[in-house]
C-alpha cells in the first residue's frame, strides 16, 4: 500500500485528518464529516464569512484532481493513524466514529513547518465554526457551497484515488 506520489498520500491525508481531529477534540467525527473537512481545511475560501482564512491551496480551475480526495483515501489514512495509536476508533450504534487519541497532542505539537502551522490554524478555525454543529447542519452548508462536488465525495473509484 505504497503511495506513488507524496501529495494526497495516506501520510499527507493522515496528517491532515489528525490535525482536524485534534482541533475538534473531544468531538467525534464520522467518515463523511472527515471527508468534508479534508476538503475544507485546504479550501477555507469556499466558505463565506468575515474571518474566513484564505485557502491554503491555490484555487486552480483544474483542482478537481485535488478535490477527488475521497472517502476511501480518508478512511485508509484514519486506519493508518489508528495503527500509529494517534486516532481512536469508536464503533457505536450511530456507526463508526473517529477521535484524536491521547498521543495525538504531543505529535501535532511537533509539527512546526509553516504549512503545518497553517493547517493547524485552519483546523482550529473550522473547529470553532463546526464543532458545536450537528452533522446535518454541516451537510446543508457543504451542499449549498460545494454541493456540486457531492458525487465526487461519494464516488469510490476514480483514477487519482487509486492509492490503496
Amino acid at each position: 500500500m505504497l503511495d506513488k506520489h507524496p501529495f494526497n498520500s495516506t501520510l499527507e491525508t493522515g496528517i491532515r485528518a489528525l490535525v482536524v481531529l485534534e482541533a475538534f477534540y473531544p468531538r467525534h467525527c464520522d467518515l463523511m464529516e472527515m471527508t468534508w473537512f479534508d476538503h475544507l481545511i485546504v479550501h477555507t475560501g469556499d466558505i463565506d464569512g468575515q474571518d474566513v482564512p484564505e485557502s491554503l491551496h491555490p484555487d486552480l480551475p483544474n483542482r478537481t484532481g485535488e478535490l477527488l480526495v475521497r472517502r476511501q483515501l480518508v478512511e485508509r489514512s484514519l486506519r493508518m493513524m489508528q495503527q500509529m495509536h494517534l486516532v481512536d476508533v469508536f464503533e457505536t450504534e450511530a456507526g463508526i466514529e473517529f477521535c484524536a487519541s491521547e498521543e495525538a497532542p504531543s505529535y501535532v505539537e511537533l509539527l512546526q513547518t509553516p504549512y503545518s502551522l497553517a493547517l493547524k490554524e485552519r483546523a482550529r478555525w473550522m473547529a470553532g465554526r463546526f464543532a458545536q454543529q450537528e452533522s446535518v447542519e454541516i451537510r446543508e452548508l457543504i451542499e449549498s457551497r460545494i454541493g456540486r462536488w457531492t458525487t465526487e465525495f461519494t464516488t469510490d473509484d476514480t483514477s487519482s484515488g487509486r492509492s490503496a
Partner: protein, 622 residues
C-alpha cells in the same frame, strides 16, 4: 432558227367549216382583191399576239367562235395560242391545234405585266430572248419594260402605216413618244437596252424636293435659335469666356486628384495602423493570459513545496515514533504487527524529499520564463501605445486634409458645370453654322437638268450609218432606182433617196421604202446576231403596182409611174424568198405576184368572186 415562226391562223365556229391560212417557213403571199379579208388577216395576227384587244368588226366573223394561231418557238417547240373571237385571255397548248384540244391549255393573260410570266407577251419575248428588257422613255431616264405591244410595229406593218409619211421609227406619230421610239430602235439595232440607266427625278420634282429640304433645315435652325434663347450670349464672347475658364482651371483637376490621392493614402495608412494595433493588443492579451497561468503555477509550486516540508516533518516524527514500543499493547517495535505502516511512512517521507527538489528546479525555470514574458508584454504595450499615437496623428492629418479636398472638389464641380453650359452654347452655334452652310448648299443646287445629265437618245451615228448601208443593200437587191443614193437620215429617222426624204414621195414609193426599212431591220439583226421576232408581216408594200381604176388609192404619182416600170416587184419577192432560212415573211398584196416567183413562195389567193376559187379569208354568210 432565230425567232418565232407562224404556222397557221384558223377560225372555228359551230356548224361552220374552219377557215384560215397556213404559212410556209419562208415567204408567204396572201394576194387578193379588195374586201376579201387580207388586212383582216394582219389584224387577226396582231389580235392573236395579244397586241390588240379585239378583232375588227366585220360581218363574217359573227359565225366564228375561236381563233387558233399555230407557232413554232426557237427551240422547235410547237405551240398553239387559242383566243375567243370575243377577245379576253388566251390559252396555250403544246403542239399544233386547229380545233379544241383534248387537254386543257395553260391560261395566258393578254396584258403585258413585267412582274408576271403568264402573259402572251412574256411567252413571245422570252422566245426572242428579250424578256425583261427595258427602254428609257424620257430625259429623266424613266423606263418602260419591253412588251410585244411595243415591238409590234416592227413585226406587223399595216397598210396605213406602210404608206404613212411619218418615220417608220416614230410609229405612234406622237412627239412625246419620240425618245422612247428612238431608244426602242436603238435597242433593236444594238441589242443593248436601258435596264442599267438610272432614273432621275424630273426638274419639277427636284424643285419640290429642294423646297422641302430648305424648309426642314430652316426648321432645325429655328429649333436651335429657340434653344439659344431670346438674348443669346455672343459667340465670340462665349469662346473667350471658355478660354478664360479653361485657363483659370488649368491645374484644378490635377490638384483635386492630388488632394484625393493624399486623403486616400492617409486613410489607408490609418486603416493599416489600426489593424496592426489590434493584432498587437490581441497578442498582448494572450501574453497576459499566459503570464497569469504561469503565476498560478508558481503559486502551486510554492504551496506544494510547503506541503512537502510539512509531509517530511510529519513523516519524520512518525518514523521516530515507530521505533517506540506499541502504545496500545506494550510490545517492542520489531514485534509489532503494524510494521508495514512504518515502511509506508518512510517511503512517503523519501518521496516527498525528492519531489521537493524537482519542484524547486521547475520553479526556477518558471520564474525565468515569466520574467521574459513580462518583458515582452511591456514591450508590446509600449508599441501599442505608440501605434495609438500614430493613429491620432493620422486622424489629425486627415481632418486637416479633408477641407482642402472638399473645397477643391466644389470648385471643380462648379468649373465642370460652367464649362458644360458654355460648351453647349458653342455647340449650338456650331450646329447652326453647319445648317446654314447646308442650307446655302441646297439653295445652290440646280433644279434644271444640266447638259451632261441627259442620256443620249436613239442609236449612235455609227450604228445608224451601218443601218443606212443595210437599207441601201436591201434596196439594191430590189433594184430600186437610185439605190446607190440611199441614206438613213438621223434627224428624220427615215430613208432618203438622193437627199429626198421618204415622206416627200408618192404613196407607193413610201410603201416600198417603208418595207425596205422593215426588211433592213431584220437583215441588220441577222447579220449582227441580234434578237429579232423571226417573222415579218407586210401589208401592201407594192402599192405602186395597183390598178388605178379599181384601187381606192387612185392615180399613180410620177415617181410611182417610174417605179412601176421597173422590175422591182419580182426582185423584191425574190430577195424576200432568199431570206427563207432566216426570217419568215408574209406579204399581203392586191396585185398579182410576178409569175417568176410562183415557185419560191406560198401564194394564197382570195378571188373576191363567188364560185371562182376561194372568195376570201372567212366564209361569206349566205
Amino acid at each position: 432558227m432565230n425567232g418565232i415562226r407562224l404556222r397557221h391562223l384558223v377560225f372555228t365556229g359551230p356548224g361552220i367549216e374552219p377557215a384560215g391560212l397556213g404559212f410556209d417557213e419562208g415567204l408567204s403571199i396572201i394576194y387578193g382583191a379588195s374586201n376579201t379579208g387580207k388586212s383582216f388577216a394582219s389584224k387577226a395576227i396582231l389580235f392573236m399576239l395579244g397586241v390588240s384587244k379585239s378583232l375588227p368588226e366585220i360581218e363574217e366573223i359573227a359565225a366564228y367562235e375561236s381563233v387558233w394561231l399555230g407557232l413554232t418557238l426557237p427551240d422547235n417547240r410547237d405551240v398553239t395560242l387559242y383566243r375567243a373571237t370575243q377577245g379576253g385571255q388566251f390559252k396555250l397548248y403544246e403542239g399544233l391545234y386547229k380545233k379544241a384540244a383534248v387537254k386543257d391549255g395553260l391560261v395566258l393573260r393578254q396584258k403585258h405585266d413585267s412582274k408576271r410570266t403568264d402573259t402572251v407577251s412574256h411567252l413571245l419575248l422570252n422566245a426572242m430572248g428579250v424578256a425583261g428588257k427595258a427602254v428609257v422613255r424620257d430625259g429623266n431616264c424613266k423606263k418602260d419594260a419591253l412588251s410585244i405591244y411595243l415591238l409590234s410595229p416592227y413585226v406587223v406593218v399595216s397598210e396605213q402605216d406602210i404608206i404613212a409619211e411619218k418615220s417608220p421609227v416614230f410609229t405612234s406619230g406622237s412627239p412625246s413618244q419620240r425618245t422612247f421610239e428612238q431608244n426602242l430602235f436603238k435597242f433593236l439595232l444594238t441589242g443593248v437596252d436601258d435596264v442599267a440607266a438610272v432614273t432621275v427625278p424630273k426638274p419639277s420634282e427636284r424643285k419640290v424636293a429642294k423646297a422641302a429640304k430648305i424648309e426642314l433645315v430652316d426648321e432645325l435652325i429655328a429649333q436651335i435659335d429657340a434653344e439659344l434663347g431670346e438674348n443669346p450670349p455672343d459667340e465670340r464672347e462665349t469662346e473667350e469666356q471658355l478660354r478664360r475658364l479653361e485657363q483659370s482651371a488649368s491645374d484644378l483637376a490635377s490638384r483635386l486628384k492630388d488632394a484625393q490621392a493624399k486623403l486616400d493614402a492617409l486613410a489607408g495608412e490609418r486603416r493599416k495602423t489600426i489593424e496592426r494595433r489590434r493584432e498587437l493588443l490581441e497578442r498582448a492579451g494572450e501574453l497576459d493570459l499566459t503570464i497569469e497561468r504561469f503565476s498560478k503555477l508558481q503559486a502551486v509550486y510554492s504551496s506544494d513545496l510547503q506541503r512537502l516540508q510539512s509531509i517530511e516533518e510529519g513523516g519524520f516524527v512518525l518514523v521516530a515514533m515507530t521505533d517506540m514500543d506499541c502504545p496500545v499493547c506494550g510490545a517492542p517495535s520489531d514485534a509489532q504487527k503494524h510494521n508495514h505502516a512504518a515502511e509506508e511512512i518512510a517511503m512517503a517521507h523519501k518521496a516527498a524529499a525528492a519531489e521537493a527538489r524537482k519542484i524547486e528546479r521547475e520553479q526556477r525555470e518558471l520564474t525565468q520564463t515569466i520574467a521574459s514574458l513580462e518583458a515582452e508584454a511591456v514591450g508590446l504595450r509600449r508599441t501599442v501605445d505608440s501605434e495609438k499615437k500614430e493613429i491620432d496623428r493620422l486622424d489629425g492629418e486627415i481632418e486637416k486634409a479633408r477641407p482642402h479636398e472638399t473645397s477643391l472638389r466644389e470648385s471643380y464641380e462648379v468649373y465642370v458645370s460652367k464649362r458644360s453650359g458654355i460648351v453647349r452654347v458653342l455647340d449650338l452655334y456650331k450646329r447652326r453654322s453647319n445648317l446654314s452652310t447646308r442650307r446655302a448648299e441646297i439653295g445652290a443646287e440646280p433644279t434644271r437638268r444640266s447638259k451632261g445629265d441627259a442620256p443620249s437618245v436613239g442609236p449612235d451615228s455609227t450604228t445608224l450609218f451601218r443601218f443606212g448601208e443595210t437599207v441601201k443593200s436591201v434596196l439594191t437587191e430590189w433594184r430600186f432606182p437610185d439605190a446607190d443614193k440611199v441614206q438613213f437620215d438621223t434627224e428624220a429617222m427615215d430613208i432618203t433617196v438622193a437627199g429626198k426624204l421618204r415622206a416627200a414621195n408618192g404613196k407607193g414609193v413610201r410603201a416600198i421604202l417603208h418595207a425596205a426599212f422593215n426588211v433592213a431591220v431584220v437583215v441588220f439583226c441577222i447579220e449582227n446576231d441580234l434578237p429579232h421576232p423571226g417573222f415579218l408581216v407586210l401589208d401592201t408594200p407594192l402599192l405602186t403596182y395597183r390598178e388605178p381604176m379599181t384601187s381606192r388609192y387612185g392615180e399613180l404619182s410620177d415617181d410611182e409611174k417610174v417605179l412601176k416600170k421597173t422590175g422591182l416587184a419580182e426582185h423584191f419577192y425574190k430577195h424576200l424568198a432568199s431570206l427563207k432560212d432566216k426570217v419568215q415573211i408574209i406579204v399581203i398584196e392586191n396585185s398579182d405576184p410576178p409569175v417568176a416567183i410562183r415557185d419560191v413562195a406560198r401564194i394564197e389567193t382570195f378571188s373576191g368572186l363567188e364560185g371562182n376559187g376561194r372568195f376570201g379569208l372567212l366564209a361569206r354568210r349566205m
